[in-house]
Amino acid sequence: MDLLPLLHNTVCGGLAAAGFGVLFNVSFRGLPWCAASGALALALRTIALGAGWRLEAASFVAALLLGIVVQLLPSWIGVSRNALHVVGCIPLIPGGFTAKAILGLFAVTAQRPDTANEVLIAALENLLRALFTIGALGTGLALPIVVLRARSRRISRT
């Protein structure tokens, strides 16, 4: 695997997560953790994509592993686990696909009939990829929360 794209995506993921951390009013003490979560998520997804996985599967695995790592972090880090989940996964949200899909659907109405089919298929493809990826991200993130929370509840009851 080429290290340069991995490094590039990791740094960009970290910057994006830290930037969104500021937008979400995360404290200064928590911002490095936000950057680390975004960098980890992007690194994992880049590695999975490099191994030939589809975007949806790579996003699912990245979100799942991020969710597990965040659940295992201690509570003294100064930022809630929920925030780290969200901020870390935001760089994985296929905003580009979503916007392209909706723009494509708008464009269908403006196209000549002979090219409308191609535009529609491209828009639907983008839409489905965006939907499946968002679903994979949400499920990958929610699984560790639901499973580990249920486990910690059982432990606290005993």
Partner: protein, 296 residues
Amino acid sequence: MKAVKSLSGRSLQWDVRGIHGLERPSRNIKIAPEPLMQAETRARESLEEITDLALEFGRLSMEAGASARHVEDIAERVALGLGAERVDMSIGYCSLAVTISFGHEAITRICKVGPVGVNERLHGALSAAAARIERCEMTVTQARTELTSTLRECSRHADWLITLGVSVACAAFGRLMGIDWRGVGPIFLGAALVQIVRRGLALHNVNPFISAATAAFFGSALCGFGARWVGSPTAATNVIAPVLLLVPGVPLFNAQCDILEGRPSLGSARAVWAAVMLLFMTLGVWLARELLEGAR
């Protein structure tokens, strides 16, 4: 009320945790007798105060972008910490309802939830305050003081810092989307304009969907013209990057969590809100692209 109804004329035995968090005595402290009606009225007022405070904690955490589970958890901690026996809560998208019981007495209150944003620092501080109230067995007055000081300490980051943060984030997003280095500068400026316009419109209480479409239009147009000026080969994709800060990631995440945790109505409401936000955001981008193509 258990404690009030055990009044037998001479003294009142406070059972388990005292009553309603007003003046919390230690177990089995004998207090001076008082007329039954007066004690019941005072007890009911205390229960009302607990309900109001729990509801306020719940409303603030909802407005700070907490998921339903966290909202319920925070309100429950406050109410139970102040002496309530049971808390039942219903969480809607625009309203919260809570019923708090103590013995045979129960009070139900509903409150309206304001615009839902994301404020992680406030959410964390409310959660910590609720834990302190639960742990330290505060009175209602002390708990309200705790809430006031929490709100005072949770200021937002400065506007310039937020603008800088989202600009850097969108520029990084642009690189992740495969935009060339020349296109990064216009994305940075476009995202800054989106944030400035959105903040300005929010201060004038403009509808968030209209605000998103307007901000997306100005940001995309600036970025598109900028990308064309610097000769970026990926100008068509560039216009999308500066508006990615408008993608409602937290509501989408909360929607999925809420649905998975057995609250499909709240989760669906959040998902619909996020979908409409995406639609308006795209409308702004589409208008900017039309403008760019018209000016070619």
